[in-house]
């Protein structure tokens, strides 16, 4: 056991290397993305902000399946308010600033939604109103 210290050092180095992702942002000074509010000054989203932050993809998938597969046109929110199911006119009707809203997070995380392959890109003036 002559190399006890060396082995220990290597183990610690490897463990530290594996743990890098846990404190990388603190060292490298990564910042949480700041999302721009809707340019139109709209305050109320379809569902509460907390829910939207975590589950917007669930809502989008629910809307997509309801509209395309079931032919449902309206979504009734948890507060009882009705919304037309449409990504390009309802969602982007308020969040017309895709570059300062969707992209702020999605440029930083490895989740690349492919909505814009087909749906109107607001930065190119392709928002339905």
């Amino acid at each position: 056991m002559r190399d006890k210290i060396l082995i220990l050092a290597i183990i610690i180095a490897v463990l530290a290397g594996l743990a890098v992702p846990f404190f990388y942002s603190k060292i490298a000074g990564g910042t949480a993305p700041v999302l721009a509010p809707p340019p139109g000054g709209e305050k109320q989203c379809v569902e509460p902000v907390e829910y939207m932050r975590k589950h917007h993809v669930d809502l989008l998938i629910q809307w997509r399946d309801a509209r395309v597969r079931e032919g449902v046109l309206k979504y009734v929110a948890s507060d009882g308010k009705g919304y037309t199911i449409s990504l390009s006119s309802t969602c982007l009707g308020c969040h017309s600033n895709k570059a300062d809203f969707c992209d702020r997070c999605h440029d930083q995380i490895p989740e690349r939604p492919r909505c814009w392959d087909c749906h109107g890109r607001p930065e190119k003036g392709e928002t339905a109103k």
Binding site: E70, G71, L73, S88, R114, C118, H119, T127, A128
Partner: protein, 243 residues
């Protein structure tokens, strides 16, 4: 138990079995009949307006159908073909139709083979329309092989560079998905007729619900002889060609 009694009992039990089914059927009738959208193309009226493409133009414009010149890669929802190409089983004894351009599109079959073969249910039937869920399409093109009418097109490349002006009210498609006519489902839900029918200036197209006796299509089909493309295949096409 005599043979006669046994038969009586059998008949009675048969009746009790059948009765609930009848009751269910009666309930079904009282509910609204399912939609069976259909199109009627007046062949002679359409052929007379040789060179007119207003229905094709409006459809392709509002649905962001790309205009790709290469015929091997072209994408089309509604187009014209010579009569004998659409109806090869009808010899040219139908006077004056040989070589005439006739409008064609997805037939929105009642028994659609494309829906049967789709492995992801990307193409499915709802409210009498054979629809596509482009989100689910994996581009396997089974549906194109299954469709006897060639009504489906595949996006071999990103279609956007080939769209002159993107209409933001309807999505485009992406590379690797199949697309086709949707009977203007997005217009039907707001009570509007399909765009091609609205755009036609020559009374060549009629649209309506086959379940509705008063619909324009039902009246036309009752009054004039009509053809269906490849009716012998049993797909029950819902685009009719009035003679």
């Amino acid at each position: 138990m005599t043979r006669r009694e046994f038969l009586r009992l059998m008949a009675l039990s048969g009746f009790t079995l059948a009765a609930p089914a009848d009751i269910l059927k009666a309930e079904g009738v009282s509910k609204k009949a399912p939609k069976r959208w259909a199109m009627a193309v007046s062949v002679f009226a359409c052929a007379k307006r040789d060179g007119c493409t207003s229905c094709i133009n409006v459809c392709h414009r509002i649905h962001n159908v790309p205009d790709i010149p290469d015929p091997r890669r072209e994408v089309k929802w509604i187009w014209t073909s010579p009569f004998e190409a659409l109806f090869p089983e009808y010899p040219p004894y139908i006077q004056g139709l040989r070589g005439r351009q006739v409008l064609t599109m997805c037939n929105h079959c009642e028994d659609p083979p494309c829906v049967a073969v789709c492995p992801t249910k990307a193409t499915f039937k709802r409210d009498g329309i054979v629809m596509m869920d482009y989100h689910r399409c994996i581009g396997c093109r089974y549906c194109m092989a299954a469709c006897p009418y060639g009504a489906r097109s595949f996006n071999w490349q990103d279609p956007r560079p080939f769209i002159k002006a993107v209409d933001p009210r309807y999505p485009t498609r992406a590379k690797g998905v199949v697309e086709k006519c949707n009977f203007c489902e997005e217009r039907l839900v707001s009570g509007l007729p399909p765009a091609c029918v609205e755009a036609c200036g020559g009374d060549c197209l009629a649209f309506g619900d086959l379940s509705d006796e008063k619909s324009a299509v039902r009246r036309l089909l009752a009054s004039r002889p009509a053809l269906q493309r490849k009716a012998e295949l049993g797909t029950k096409p819902k685009v009719f060609y009035l003679l």
